[in-house]
């Protein structure tokens, strides 16, 4: 024990705290000059909304889609005549947007409830447990995919 204490004393004395002068500042007082052209770095360009068309992955050169068949589910929306279908998209919201249907949205991951939509007929599966409150007969398209053909009614 004694020997150990002596050792620690020795090693302590090797620090020269007071002699060490700080001869540099590694921080800047002024923030660096920001780029003057604001067009290049628009914050909107930082949004990572799906690039390309999520319902047409064949357009994306980087995706190899040969050899897998995904089922197609027909979608019918109250007040919209065109035939719509869910095929490749990651979730129902992306699919609808890709086909020109505008839904309100905010978080796109199930906690804000912004995209609440009435499910008239059909079944959906949730990819993650939605945190937002969902009333009976409502779905959150941002975090679900169809299990059957769907009939939907948009809010508002």
């Amino acid at each position: 024990m004694l020997a150990m204490r002596d050792k620690s004393k020795e090693s302590n004395s090797e620090f020269h705290l007071e002699d060490d002068a700080i001869d540099h500042q590694d921080f800047q007082l002024e923030s660096p000059e920001a780029p003057s052209s604001s067009d290049e770095a628009r914050p909107q360009s930082e949004l990572y909304l799906p690039v390309g068309n999520p319902e047409a992955p064949q357009d994306d050169q980087q995706l190899e889609i040969q050899g897998f068949e995904k089922p197609v589910y027909n979608l019918q929306i109250d007040g919209i005549a065109e035939p719509l279908a869910f095929h490749y998209a990651n979730n129902l919201l992306e699919s609808l947007e890709a086909q020109g249907v505008q839904l309100p949205y905010q978080c796109r991951e199930g906690y804000c409830g912004g995209c609440r939509t009435d499910l008239v007929e059909g079944k959906v599966a949730y990819l993650q447990e939605p945190m937002a409150w969902i009333n009976e007969g409502e779905i959150l398209p941002c975090c679900c995919v169809p299990k059957t053909a769907l009939k939907l009614k948009l809010k508002g």
């Binding site: 923030s31 660096p32 000059e33 920001a34 604001s38 067009d39 770095a41 628009r42 914050p43 909107q44 360009s45 930082e46 949004l47 990572y48 909304l49 980087q62 505008q102 309100p104 949205y105 905010q106 978080c107 796109r108 991951e109 906690y111 804000c112 409830g113 912004g114 609440r116 945190m131 937002a132 409150w133 009333n135 809010k155 508002g156």
Partner: protein
């Protein structure tokens, strides 16, 4: 039933309602009546950010170059946001913690309120960065009649609840003479006050905040005050979560299983709640008039903002199961969604400062030649 910081009674947590049951004792989260509040806490913690992470040096220059009427719009909007978060940074704690009965809900209220204090700190960060005399802005919040008028309507439900709960916890139910005034306290009435308070908080977070966000993002749509917009984006992400929290409370009450009396109160107060929504919408329209009194800005004027107020009010009414009160069905500011998207807000400094940080970070183009110098 005076408030106890550590309730010595033994009781079954699961049989407690959200509010006005036993006072909480052990902050335990192993068993939960409503796991949603625990999920909200975890989500909120994962959102943690600090205002200082956002660089505002460009905003200072932008602000100096704004025309006077746009400076008025920007600063008034910021003052209003400061007021709202000053209220939200303390009121849920003061009003709700003395009456809460579930540990997970208690912790959610604290976490919720704490995140509002970050918002308050970020307004100081913004104001300090864009103008040389921050005191003038802060001082005006308590003296400007347009702002104080709104403060009154967002705080009256809180204050009313806090006052009655104090009497209830000191004196219990019944008629009491307090400073020569007869005050009647009943638990049923307290629950009604609680319901209206949470409903008005829901309106504050669902409508009032979003109207102010629209103004902040309208500047950024024109590539002005973008640092500010980045901060507001982070605030909007938090507010979406808080909104979900109050919507859950309201809907749990509406089902009547948590506290049958609250189920009845939900039905009784239906018209009052619609009135709270309507009053808030009207006040936001008046506010729009004040904001644009000296002139509009490109992309946003009084009429468009008023339409947005109507649109968002209808949306929020639908979310709590109520019918629309306005005819506006289309979002007059469709670009706001892109600003409100929050699954991709980058907060780490190395990501937030340089927008090109991630772009081109991975070169995914490969050819066979790239492997030519590899031997197995």
């Amino acid at each position: 039933m005076a408030y106890q910081t550590f309730n010595r009674n033994t009781f079954d947590t699961f049989s407690q309602p959200m509010f006005f049951g036993e006072h909480v004792n052990v902050s335990r989260y192993d068993t939960q009546k409503y796991k949603i509040f625990e999920q909200l806490i975890e989500k909120q913690l994962s959102f943690f950010w600090r205002p200082e992470e956002v660089d505002l040096s460009t905003d200072r220059k932008d602000f100096a170059n704004l025309p006077e009427h746009e400076k008025h719009i920007f600063l008034s909007n910021l003052k209003y946001q400061t007021l709202l978060d000053s209220i939200q940074g303390r009121s849920p704690n003061v009003a709700l913690l003395p009456i809460v009965s579930l540990p997970e809900l208690e912790t959610w209220i604290e976490t919720w309120s704490f995140s509002e204090t970050i918002h308050s700190r970020s307004y100081t960060h913004i104001i300090r960065n864009v103008i040389s005399d921050p005191a003038a802005v802060f001082d005006d919040i308590v003296s400007n009649e347009y702002i104080t008028k709104r403060a009154e309507s967002v705080t009256k439900y809180y204050d009313d609840l806090i006052e009655s709960v104090t009497y209830y916890q000191n004196l219990g139910e019944g008629k009491h003479e307090i400073n020569g005034k007869i005050v009647e306290i009943s638990l049923r009435d307290l629950k009604r006050k609680l319901y209206l308070t949470v409903a008005s908080v829901n309106v504050l977070e669902a409508i009032r905040f979003y109207v102010s966000f629209a103004c902040s993002f309208a500047f950024a749509e024109r590539a002005k005050m973008e640092g500010n917009a980045k901060i507001i984006k982070l605030i909007a992400r938090d507010e979406a979560l808080h909104l979900t929290g109050t919507q859950h409370m309201l809907q749990i009450w509406a089902m009547g299983k948590d506290d049958p009396e609250m189920g009845e109160i939900t039905k009784e107060c239906r018209d009052d709640v619609i009135e709270i929504f309507r009053e808030a919408a009207e006040q936001e329209k008046e506010w729009a008039e004040y904001l644009f009194k000296d002139g509009s800005m490109i992309g946003l004027n009084k009429d468009i903002l008023c339409q947005y107020v109507e649109y968002i009010t209808n949306q929020r009414l639908a979310a709590v199961g109520l019918d629309s009160i306005f005819t506006t069905k289309q979002n007059p500011l469709p670009w706001i969604n892109a600003w409100l998207v929050s699954d991709n807000v980058q907060v780490a400094p190395q990501e937030a400062e340089i927008s090109s940080y991630l772009v081109g970070a991975i070169d995914s183009a490969l050819s066979l030649e790239d492997f030519s110098d590899i031997e197995l």
